[in-house]
C-alpha cells in the first residue's frame, strides 16, 4: 500500500533542501568576497582606509608600481595618472595622484574601481587614502587631482617586482549605491 504521508514528508524535506540551495546561491556572493579578500585573489583591494605603514622600510627591495586608467563605456572624462609608474620600497608610504576632468556638458558623478595585477599582490597593497573609496562629482568642464596614498606590505612575495593598479571609472550619475554594494565591498 502506498504511504501517502511518508511520501509527502520526504517531498517536503527535499523541497526545503532546494530552498536552502536557493539561499546558497545568494550566499555565494558574500562568500566569494570573503574568499577573494582572505586569499588575496581576484585583484580586489581594500575599499576603506587602513593605517599607514610604520614598520621599518625594506630598503633592500625596489618594486615598480604602475598605474593604468580606463574609462568605462566612453565616459566623457579625461582620466589618467599623473605619473604612470613609481618605484617604491616595501613598507614605504607613497602618495600619487590621478587627474580627472569632466568634459560632459553637465555635472557628473563617477566611481573608480581598482584592480591589481598580479592578483596575489592585491593582498599586500594597502591604501590609506584613495579617491576610489567614495564617488567623485565634478561640474561641467571642471578638473581635479585625486590623491591615492598606499604602501606595499613588507611580506610581498619575493618574486613580485612589478605591481600594476588599473582604475576603471564608471558613470554613477543619478545612482545611489544599492544595498548589495555594501555586501560587495569588504572593509578591513
Amino acid at each position: 500500500m502506498i504511504d501517502k504521508r511518508k511520501n509527502r514528508r520526504l517531498g517536503i524535506i527535499l523541497f526545503s533542501a532546494s530552498i536552502l540551495m536557493f539561499g546558497f546561491g545568494f550566499a555565494l556572493v558574500p562568500l566569494y568576497n570573503v574568499l577573494c579578500n582572505a586569499l588575496g585573489i581576484n585583484g580586489k583591494t581594500n575599499t576603506t582606509p587602513v593605517a599607514e605603514a610604520y614598520s621599518p622600510i625594506d630598503k633592500s627591495r625596489v618594486v615598480t608600481v604602475q598605474f593604468i586608467a580606463t574609462n568605462n563605456e566612453n565616459l566623457p572624462w579625461d582620466f589618467h595618472p599623473s605619473e604612470t609608474q613609481v618605484k617604491v620600497h616595501p613598507g614605504e608610504n607613497r602618495l600619487i595622484t590621478y587627474f580627472a576632468k569632466n568634459n560632459a556638458g553637465k555635472t557628473m558623478t563617477i566611481q573608480a574601481v581598482p584592480s591589481v595585477t598580479p592578483g596575489i599582490a592585491a593582498k599586500y597593497l594597502r591604501k590609506t587614502e584613495c579617491f576610489c573609496f567614495t564617488q567623485q562629482t565634478l561640474m561641467s568642464g571642471k578638473s581635479m587631482l585625486m590623491p591615492m596614498k598606499f604602501h606595499l606590505d613588507r611580506d610581498l612575495p619575493k618574486n613580485i617586482n612589478t605591481v600594476t593598479i588599473a582604475y576603471t571609472v564608471f558613470n554613477t550619475t543619478g545612482q545611489t549605491r544599492g544595498k548589495s554594494s555594501k555586501a560587495g565591498r569588504i572593509s578591513k
Partner: protein, 540 residues
C-alpha cells in the same frame, strides 16, 4: 537480472481491455483535452514530456539550421548579426532545457515506476504540475522573438553584463521562463527521488535497482542541488536590472566575474544532468543486445556517484582565461581530469559487457554502440580542454563547440533516441520499422560527424564561437559542416515518421519484446496497461 524476478500473478492481465488504451473518457475534443490536462498517470505524463521534447527538438533544430545556413559561406547572407546571436542563444536554451531535460524526465516518468514495481509516481498531482509549467515557460521564451528590441542575444550562458546592463527588454521574460523551468525541474526531481526511495516493490533493494533508476536518482539529487542556484543567478540578474542592486556591477561594488562563478556552479553539474540518464539508458540497452549481464554493475553505480560529486567542484574550468589565480587553475584542472577516471570505468564496463556477448544490432543497439564510441571522443576533447595552457588556446573557439556537441548529440541525444526505439514497442504495443530505424541511424551518425568533426579543426585554427561571419580560410570546413547539419535535420524526419507509423500499427510486440530483455518493465504486456503493478510484484 531477469531470472531473479518472479511474477506474483497475472494481476496486470486481470484488468479490463480498456486499460490498455487509457482511461474511460467521453468522445469529443473537450474530454480529450481534459484527459491530458488533468492526467496524473505517470505514463500519460511521460508521453506529454516526450512529445513536448520532440516538438522543441524540431524548433531548436530549425534554429540550428538557420545558424548553419548563415555560416555556409563567409559574409552576411540571410540574417544580421543580432538575429544570429538570438538564434545561438535560443538554440542553446531550447536544446538544453526544452529537449534533453524534458525527454529524460519523460523517460523517468514512463520507466521508473515500472522498473521498480510501483503503481505510479509518488506525488502524481505534483507530477502533473511539473509538466504543465513547461509549455508556458517555452511559450514565454519563444514569444521574446516577437518583442520590441530583440530576443535574448547574450548566449545561453547569459553572462553579466551582457544580460544586465546590455540585455534587451525581453530579458525579463527570459528570466521568468527560466524560473518556471527551474520550478518544473525541481518538482520533477523531487518526485523521482520520493518514488525511488519510498515506492520500490518488496525485495527491490537499492543495489538491485536497474542502472537507469540509479542514474536518475543521482541526477535528481544534482538537480535539487543546482537548479535553485540557477534560479538565484537569474534572480540576481533581475534585481540588478530593475531593483538597484549591484551583484554583478563593478561600479556599485559588485563583480561581473561573480556571475560566472554562480552560473557555472550550476552549469557544470548541469552537463551531467544532461548525460547521466543517458548513461543509464546505455547501461540497459547494451546488456540486452549482448545477452549478458552488465559488467561491473556495482562499479557502474559507484562511478556515477563519483562523477556527480566531482561535478560540483570543477566549475571554474570554464573560467581559466578570466584571470583566476594559478593555484585555482591547478586545482580545477586536476579535479576536472579526475572525472576521466570514473568515466573511463563506465566506458570500460560497457565494452566489457559487449566483449564475447552474443551481440545483435537492432536500431537501439546501433545508437548505443555509436554512443560509446562518439561520447568517448567528446570526453577526450573535454580532457584536452581541461589542460589550462591548452585551454588558453581553445577557449571560445569552435573546438569548444565541437566538444560539447560531441557529448550532447551522439551522447545525450543518441541515448534518448536509442531509448525511444528500445521502449517504443512496450509503449505502443507495436514493433517499429527496423529498416527505417537503420536508415535513421546511419544517416544521423554520418551526418552528425560530418557536421561536428570539422569544427575541431576550425577551432584549432582559431575560428571563434558565436560569430555570424568568418575569415576566408575557414570557408571549406564551414561549408562541409553546414551540409552535414541539413542532412542530420532531414534524417530526423525519418525518426518522426517511424514513431507515428509505430503508434498507428506494425507488428505486434510480445511482452518481452527483446530476446535478452531484463527488468520488470518487460514482464507487463505490450502495450503497457494504463495501470501497472497495482499489486506490487515480488522481487527475489
Amino acid at each position: 537480472m531477469s531470472d531473479a524476478i518472479t511474477h506474483t500473478g497475472d494481476h496486470t492481465h486481470g484488468h479490463g481491455h480498456d486499460d490498455h488504451h487509457g482511461p474511460h473518457i467521453k468522445k469529443g475534443i473537450l474530454p480529450w483535452i481534459g484527459r491530458w490536462v488533468f492526467t496524473t498517470n505517470h505514463k500519460d505524463i511521460g508521453t506529454l514530456y516526450l512529445w513536448l521534447s520532440f516538438l522543441m527538438f524540431f524548433v531548436g533544430g530549425a534554429m540550428a539550421l538557420l545558424i548553419r545556413a548563415e555560416l555556409f559561406k563567409p559574409g552576411l547572407q540571410i540574417m544580421n548579426p543580432d538575429f544570429f546571436n538570438q538564434m545561438t542563444t535560443l538554440h542553446g536554451l531550447i536544446m538544453v532545457f526544452g529537449v534533453i531535460m524534458p525527454a529524460s524526465v519523460g523517460l523517468a516518468n514512463w520507466l521508473v515506476p515500472m522498473m521498480i514495481g510501483a503503481p505510479d509516481m509518488a506525488l502524481p498531482r505534483l507530477n502533473n504540475w511539473s509538466f504543465w509549467l513547461l509549455p508556458f515557460a517555452f511559450t514565454i521564451l519563444m514569444s521574446t522573438l516577437f518583442m520590441k528590441g530583440s530576443a535574448p542575444n547574450f548566449g545561453w550562458t547569459f553572462y553579466a553584463p551582457l544580460s544586465t546592463s546590455y540585455g534587451p527588454p525581453s530579458t525579463d521574460f527570459f528570466i521568468f521562463s527560466v524560473h518556471l523551468m527551474g520550478i518544473s525541474s525541481i518538482m520533477g526531481a523531487l518526485n523521482i527521488i520520493v518514488t525511488i526511495l519510498n515506492m520500490r516493490a518488496p525485495g527491490m533493494t537499492m543495489m538491485k535497482m536497474p542502472i537507469f533508476v540509479w542514474t536518475w536518482l543521482i541526477t535528481a539529487f544534482l538537480l535539487l542541488a543546482v537548479m535553485p542556484v540557477l534560479a538565484g543567478a537569474v534572480t540576481m540578474v533581475l534585481t540588478d536590472r530593475h531593483f538597484g542592486t549591484s551583484f554583478f556591477n563593478a561600479a556599485g561594488g559588485g563583480d561581473p566575474l561573480l556571475f560566472q562563478h554562480v552560473f557555472w556552479f550550476f552549469g557544470h553539474p548541469e552537463v551531467y544532468i544532461l548525460i547521466m540518464p543517458a548513461f543509464g539508458i546505455i547501461s540497459e540497452i547494451i546488456p540486452t543486445f549482448s545477452r549478458k549481464a552488465l559488467f561491473g554493475r556495482s562499479f557502474m553505480i559507484y562511478a556515477i556517484a563519483a562523477i556527480a560529486i566531482l561535478s560540483l567542484i570543477v566549475w571554474a574550468h570554464h573560467m581559466f582565461t578570466t584571470g583566476i589565480t594559478l593555484s585555482a587553475e591547478l586545482f580545477f584542472m586536476y579535479a576536472t581530469m579526475l572525472i576521466a577516471v570514473p568515466t573511463g570505468v563506465k566506458v570500460f564496463n560497457w565494452v566489457s559487457t559487449m566483449f564475447q556477448g552474443a551481440m545483435t544490432f537492432e536500431t537501439p543497439m546501433l545508437f548505443a554502440v555509436a554512443f560509446v564510441i562518439l561520447f568517448t571522443i567528446g570526453g577526450f576533447s573535454g580532457l584536452m580542454l581541461s589542460i589550462v595552457p591548452a585551454d588558453f588556446q581553445y577557449q571560445d573557439t569552435y573546438f569548444v563547440v565541437a566538444h560539447f556537441h560531441y557529448v550532447l548529440v551522439p551522447g545525450s541525444l543518441f541515448a534518448l533516441m536509442a531509448a525511444v526505439y528500445f521502449w517504443l514497442p512496450k509503449w505502443t504495443g507495436h514493433m517499429y520499422n527496423e529498416a527505417l530505424g537503420k536508415w535513421h541511424f546511419w544517416l544521423s551518425v554520418i551526418s552528425m560527424n560530418v557536421t561536428f568533426f570539422p569544427m575541431h579543426f576550425l577551432g584549432l585554427a582559431g575560428m571563434p564561437r558565436r560569430v555570424p561571419d568568418y575569415a576566408l580560410q575557414f570557408a571549406d570546413f564551414n561549408a562541409i559542416a553546414s551540409v552535414g547539419a541539413f542532412v542530420f535535420g532531414v534524417a530526423q524526419l525519418l525518426f518522426l515518421a517511424n514513431i507515428i507509423l509505430t503508434i498507428r500499427g506494425g507488428k505486434k510486440a510480445t511482452t518481452k519484446v527483446w530476446e535478452g530483455s531484463q527488468g520488470l518493465e518487460w514482464t507487463v504486456p505490450s502495450p503497457a496497461p494504463y495501470h501497472t503493478f497495482a499489486t506490487p510484484p515480488v522481487v527475489k
